[in-house]
């Protein structure tokens, strides 16, 4: 029994170090959960996929998704940024606490989509019509959709949007803005 376990542990950690989709153990180490397309800080930022529809698409391949009471509008970082600066929205990070602590959009609050407790705390005493924008790691990440749908269905928030490009979009846009500013 122990031999099987030992071989599994060795193979597991060896594979985890080799694969690009491995689980990261170091604090601040990027992983696909935090950002699906990892962009080194010195790399040329790639163009972010432009949102062609006004609604957030239902994530595919991530299992059953909750069905929200209304179609959730999509929003880009370019639109979120001024609204956040003017305190007109609440920006919510749907990723796990680990990723939020490692890196997040300044001004965002952490409400992990997997935690009903955090969701309840967030929703408590908050006006139901308050504009809320949810993001997770990237356009492929289902967490923002899950959280947004739960905020709508369970807590009756009427103005929830999803920043579909997620943390990737923020990082790339800010990197581009930084380059242009430096010129």
């Amino acid at each position: 029994m122990l031999v099987i376990l030992a071989v599994s542990v060795l193979a597991g950690f060896a594979y985890n170090n080799l694969t690009a989709f491995g689980v990261r153990f170091k604090q601040g180490d990027s992983s696909r959960l935090a950002a699906s397309t990892i962009t080194p800080t010195n790399a040329t930022p790639q163009p972010v996929a432009v949102q062609t529809t006004n609604y957030a698409p239902v994530p595919e391949g991530a299992g059953p998704m909750p069905t929200p009471k209304y179609r959730i509008p999509a929003i880009t970082w370019a639109k979120v940024k001024p609204l956040l600066a003017e305190n007109k929205i609440v920006l919510v990070d749907a990723r796990g606490n680990y990723f939020y602590k490692a890196e997040h959009i300044p001004g965002a609050v952490s409400v992990p989509s997997t935690s009903g407790f955090d969701m309840g705390n967030f929703a408590q005493d908050r006006p139901k019509d308050q504009p809320i924008v949810v993001y997770c790691s990237s356009e492929h990440c289902p967490l923002s959709y899950i959280l947004a749908a739960n905020l709508i269905n369970q807590f009756d928030f009427s103005n929830v949007k999803i920043m579909t490009g997620g943390f990737d979009e923020y990082r790339l846009q800010e990197a581009q803005a930084g380059k242009e500013g430096a010129k």
Partner: protein, 166 residues
């Protein structure tokens, strides 16, 4: 494990474990995210280690079940794994969590996102499946123990015919 039925069951479990292992190994971070969604009261580090090790445990158990080697240890691990799945899916189902079980990747068969895939991956279905898996693994384990006892008795008879003929 000589009878046709137990051998077939062992092979089915072996193939299921291989399928489950490859589904998880394709993207460990997705599997880790699935584990997080279960909202288990476990330390994050333990969940990360589980996401790294569990697929390989499934892989080796699957290979060993198919090959018929180290059956006692393999069946014990299989029983432990299925027991863990039963507890995890049971608590998630009981709490009404709308999550994907993260057990099998239907994309391997070109069925990702289909209604069948959603049903197969739903936590309620996964719990029901886990019950059958645990029952099946218990049956296999009991059959293995029974055959071990029988074979050891027959070995004793062969090695000491004078004693037994008395």
């Amino acid at each position: 494990m000589k009878s046709g039925f137990t051998r077939l069951l062992r092979w089915i479990f072996g193939l299921l474990l291989l399928w489950a292992a490859f589904s998880k190994l394709a993207n460990l971070q997705d599997f880790y995210a699935s584990l997080l969604a279960y909202q288990l009261p476990l330390p994050d580090m333990l969940l990360r280690c589980s996401a790294v090790v569990l697929p390989w445990l499934e892989l080796f158990c699957g290979l060993l079940l198919l090959s018929g080697l180290w059956l006692r240890a393999t069946l014990t691990w299989t029983l432990i794994l299925f027991g863990i799945f039963l507890l995890a899916t049971g608590q998630a189902w009981g709490r009404g969590l709308e999550i994907s079980c993260g057990c099998f990747n239907m994309k391997l068969f070109g069925l990702g996102g289909s209604a069948l895939a959603k049903t197969f991956e739903s936590v309620g279905f996964a719990f029901g499946r886990s019950v059958f898996l645990v029952v099946g693994a218990l049956y296999l384990y009991s059959q293995y123990r029974l055959e071990s006892v029988q074979s050891s008795e027959s070995t004793e008879e062969v090695s000491s015919p004078a004693t037994t003929s008395k």
